[in-house]
């Protein structure tokens, strides 16, 4: 086998982040006094640099390098830009929070950056090995981050739980990958698609492999019945880490689901669509019902996140009908992608608000901590109002258009295939949205209708205030003008 020099230019963003994390490692080990501030800014610089590199280095054409392990395309570039952006936002939101709790050690910044690198590799992977590598890099960093507040038993317990269940899921994923390898003789996603296309798709081993791979993906997305870790991890981790776990990895997991299922196992769509249907239904129903019972806002957002992921799957599962893809498939997948992007925007703002209300020695955790926010700060109350109504899917906010496009995809699938169960899927989904609206409304209720019990003023840096406001306002702005973002999602999928 000839050695072919890989095209480093295509992988420049990942290489840059990897290099920068080593720089940070060096800087923080020598410069101890100002290490934290330096680490923070270097991290932001690394993410900004990666963002710019992604913007300017990638090809419009899909191209492979590193012997087919690494893929550069618009879809990946767009998601990587979003990952960089959201991790940068996470760092900014969490900065004062971590410092107040004295857990902003250099390792925190290191691991956040490694997690970001993992996500980027995962997004760019076109090969099971690189995919697994990215996934593990991301997951291991996240396990560590969840347990970073190591004197706090809840944090360590959450880390442990996450690790054990995550390792199990990784194992299942590997098992599935090995089955697919056994059946097709390759680990490269495009090759797998080609081999499955050539032989009959009903091969039992392939379907078995699919099931295990799907379990791994479902675990990372946190959908029912592989959701058990979600509420505990969200609840136990320091809020700044919860913010990270809840946001950018969902984009990476979406990319992985798309690459494996749509690009790799397209011919098995009939199988995985019906599996996803069950997962989506269970997530939407259980997520929404369980969220109603929560008094802890982090747990509530965890369950709401489960239901949102269910909604996203609705888009993913309505792409192929009667064995045909075509424009409807692009439509459906771009709606799922739009949903994932919208969800990340909303989650960042929601947990950002939770962090905003926390201060040294006090963690805002309960829905009741939002009591009377309208008296304490009308501005941030209205920001949270936007986020909550957006999550509930009320116009004019981005959450509405996310739900709309997903439902449209489901109904389109029902209309084309003439199968009424798609309609029932849509009806159940909207019914559960009403249940969902209840707990979002409750947050609005405590903010606006109740009197404040905690009168302390809201302390936050100017950067935090501006960024959080911009984040929440962007939800309203994209809600008013959603077209461009939808077009980008569709465009990147087409190429």
């Amino acid at each position: 086998m000839d050695f072919v020099m890989p095209d480093f230019r295509l992988a420049a963003p990942e290489l840059f982040v990897a290099g920068m994390s080593l720089v940070i490692l060096m800087v923080t080990s020598f410069a101890t006094t100002r290490a934290r501030s330096a680490a923070f800014w270097l991290c932001e610089l690394a993410l900004l640099g990666a963002l710019l590199l992604t913007l300017f280095s990638g090809d419009v054409q899909r191209s492979l390098t590193f012997s087919g392990m690494y893929m550069s395309d618009l879809f990946g570039s767009f998601l990587k830009i979003l990952v960089c952006l959201s991790v940068a936002v996470v760092l900014q939101y969490g900065r004062a929070y971590m410092a107040d709790r004295k857990i902003d050690s250099p390792e925190y910044y290191m691991m956040v950056l490694f997690a970001a690198l993992g996500m980027m590799v995962l997004i760019s992977a076109s090969h099971f090995v690189s995919m697994y590598m990215g996934l593990e890099l991301m997951s291991l960093s996240l396990y560590g981050l969840v347990a970073i507040d190591r004197d706090n038993p809840r944090s360590t317990e959450a880390g442990m739980k996450y690790f054990v269940l995550g390792a199990l899921a990784s194992g299942l994923l590997l098992y599935g990958m090995s089955m697919l390898y056994g059946a097709t003789g390759t680990l490269e996603i495009h090759e797998i698609a080609q081999r499955i296309y050539e032989r009959s798709a009903n091969d039992l081993v392939v379907v078995f492999g699919l099931v295990f791979v799907l379990v791994g993906i479902a675990f990372k997305l946190g959908v029912v019945p592989f959701h058990m870790w979600v509420p505990d991890v969200y609840h136990g981790a320091p809020t700044a880490v919860t913010l990270l776990v809840a946001s950018a990895p969902k984009l990476a997991a979406f990319a992985m689901a798309f690459r494996v299922l749509v690009l790799g196992l397209f011919d098995l769509a009939e199988h995985w669509q019906s599996m996803l249907m069950l997962l989506a239904m269970a997530s939407i129903i259980l997520g929404n019902l369980a969220a109603v019972a929560q008094t802890n806002i982090k747990r509530m957002l965890a369950f709401s996140g489960i239901s949102h992921m269910g909604f996203m799957l609705l888009g993913l599962l309505s792409g192929v009908v009667k064995g045909e893809g075509g424009t409807y498939a692009v439509n459906a997948y771009s709606s799922a992608m739009f949903y994932a992007v919208a969800y990340v925007m909303m989650t960042l703002a929601a947990f950002g608000m939770v962090i905003l209300l926390s201060r040294a020695g006090f963690d805002a955790e309960n829905v009741d901590d939002f009591k009377g926010l309208n008296q304490r700060s009308p501005w941030f109350a209205s920001m949270m109002l936007i986020v909550m109504f957006s999550m509930a899917g009320i116009p004019f906010f981005v959450g509405f258009f996310a739900k709309l496009s997903v439902l449209q995809a489901v109904i389109a699938a029902g209309n084309i295939s003439n199968q009424p169960h798609y309609y029932w899927l849509a009806v159940v989904a909207v019914m559960m949205s009403v249940v969902g609206a209840f707990y979002y409304l409750r947050v609005v209720k405590v903010m606006y209708f109740d009197d404040a019990t905690d009168q302390s003023p809201i302390v936050a840096t100017l950067g935090m205030r501006t960024l959080l406001s911009a984040n929440a306002l962007s939800i309203a702005v994209v809600g008013l003008l959603p077209n461009w973002l939808m077009q980008i999602c569709a465009f990147t999928l087409l190429h």
Partner: protein, 493 residues
């Protein structure tokens, strides 16, 4: 589209003004917020006047049309236009907004900026609902209008406001989400278009028509509200502040009825004909049964709330008899109810501001201390009961007239509302206003001040003018109602 985009102005002037009023911030700047609100409300009303002045009464087609792409990905358009059915409601809404701002002038002293802003934004959204010709645009305004009303009820409402606000929100959301599914289905059927007017010409099979009819019914019936999904309304009304009740009764209830005319009847006419007996029965139950329920209420606001349900039963009754007199009568009834019920709620608000009780039993002999108020209250009570020469009579009479053409027994049952309405309204009036001065509170009452006199007088003028000379209102409806009826008469199977 030519000239000034009046419809856009009618929508966005109040919304921008509402956001502007928010900047007044804390209650220290309350006068500023009130002033901004009043100026905006007046401006919002003036931009709607050209809609009436420039309205062409000879055509049933849409006027003042504005059309621009909004979300091209799903070919959602920013598509506005009005016909004779929707135009009067835009004027009514903008007019009521002024009244609401004035009515809350001194009464609301807490979070003034947010209060006024809420009403202004809602006013803009409601105008949006009446002028949207794109399915999603309609839905967006329809849903978004829940947010301000939810906050208004929840923040400034009575003791049980939280329960009422959440109940109101979830009830209406449940209905409208089913409508969303139907809208998406129509989008697919129409080959990727959310154009409501294009849906009017769509051929749809009977099963699909029935399903769509019920999906829309779920949304509109809750909004109207029809028996038996009316239970949110008394709660919301009782707990809402006066302004909230006024907007709820005058405008929000009309949305459901308007929806029937814009969606249900023209899009699925066969299903509408098929299920007309069902709607008629529900309407008659609302008219008669809810009338009796109103009779036994001890709370004035609840009584007027039930009377609203009963009156709205009349409206849906008029729609589903498919004749021009009845539909026009129902539309007149809607506008008249907009004036009368707002006036009734404002009257109760006047009493409540002084005594802080809505219980009929806490009053008695109010006429002795508030003679001017008693006179106004009497006029509105009479209008609510449907006395000739008030606006309340015109609509009811036309609907009953249409009903006689349709079926004698329907007309007979419907006509009992004239008796029931008189019974519950006048009995309440008697207990509150006449008799000896009942207690210390009533003794200490001061008659209405100039501000209150002003808004009651304006509404009284509206009620009387519409009662004596309804021509200007019915005239603009003729062409559109006839156009609608011709459309509904053609089967789409």
């Amino acid at each position: 589209m030519t000239g000034v985009p009046y419809l856009s102005l009618a929508i966005w002037v109040p919304i921008v003004g509402g956001l502007l009023a928010l900047t007044a911030g804390s209650d220290r700047n309350a006068p500023v917020a009130r002033l901004i609100a009043l100026v905006t409300a007046l401006a919002g009303f003036f931009v709607t006047l050209p809609l009436y002045a420039g309205f062409d009464t000879t055509t049933a087609s849409m006027q003042f049309v504005e059309r621009a792409p909004w979300v091209t990905r799903f070919s959602i358009e920013y598509y506005l236009g009005v016909d004779g059915i929707s135009m009067p409601f835009i004027l009514l809404n903008s007019f009521i907004t002024i009244i609401v701002v004035i009515a809350g002038w001194e009464v609301i002293d807490r979070k003034v900026a947010q209060y006024n802003s809420g009403f202004l934004i809602m006013s803009g959204l409601l105008n949006g609902i009446f002028s949207s010709l794109d399915g999603i645009l309609f839905y967006v305004f329809f849903e978004a209008s829940l947010i301000p009303l939810y906050l208004i009820i929840g923040i400034w409402g009575g003791p049980n406001r939280v329960y009422a606000a959440i109940k109101f929100f979830l009830y209406t959301l449940l209905g409208s989400l089913l409508m969303l599914v139907a809208i998406l289905w129509l989008f697919m059927e129409a080959g990727g278009s959310f154009d409501i007017l294009a849906w009017h010409n769509l051929k749809i099979g009977m099963t699909a028509q029935s399903l769509i009819f019920f999906a829309f019914l779920a949304s509109f019936a809750v909004k109207v509200p029809m028996w038996p999904v009316h239970t949110w309304l008394p709660d919301a009304h009782v707990e809402a502040p006066t302004g909230g009740s006024v907007v709820l009764a005058a405008i929000a209830l009309k949305l459901g009825a308007y929806g029937f005319l814009r969606f249900s009847l023209p899009i699925v006419p066969d299903a509408a004909h098929q299920y007309a007996p069902l709607i008629l029965s529900l309407s008659l139950i609302a008219v008669v049964y809810i009338g009796f329920v109103a009779l036994v209420q001890a709370d004035m606001k609840k009584l007027v709330a039930y009377s609203s349900i009963s009156h709205m039963g009349f409206v849906t009754l008029g729609f589903f008899m498919f004749n021009a007199v009845a539909i026009e009568g129902a539309l007149v009834q809607m506008i008249s109810h907009g004036f009368v019920s707002s006036a009734m709620f404002l009257c109760i608000g006047v009493l409540y501001d002084r005594v802080h009780s809505r219980q009929i039993a806490d009053y008695g002999g109010v006429v002795n201390t508030m003679p001017k108020f008693a006179a106004f209250f009497l006029l509105f009570a009479m209008a609510n009961a449907g006395l000739p020469a008030t606006s309340g009579f015109v609509g009811e009479f036309m609907v009953v007239l249409g009903a006689v053409k349709f079926n004698f027994w329907v007309a007979f049952i419907a006509a009992t509302t004239l008796i029931l309405g008189a019974a519950y309204t006048l009995w309440m009036y008697k207990r509150v206003v006449f008799g000896e001065v009942a207690n210390e509170h009533v003794k200490a009452l001061a008659d209405i001040n100039r501000r209150e006199f002003f808004f009651l007088a304006v509404l009284a003028a509206c009620v009387l003018v519409m009662g004596v000379y309804p021509q200007p209102v019915t005239e603009v409806m003729h062409a559109s109602v006839n156009g609608l009826l011709q459309h509904v008469a053609v089967s789409k199977l």
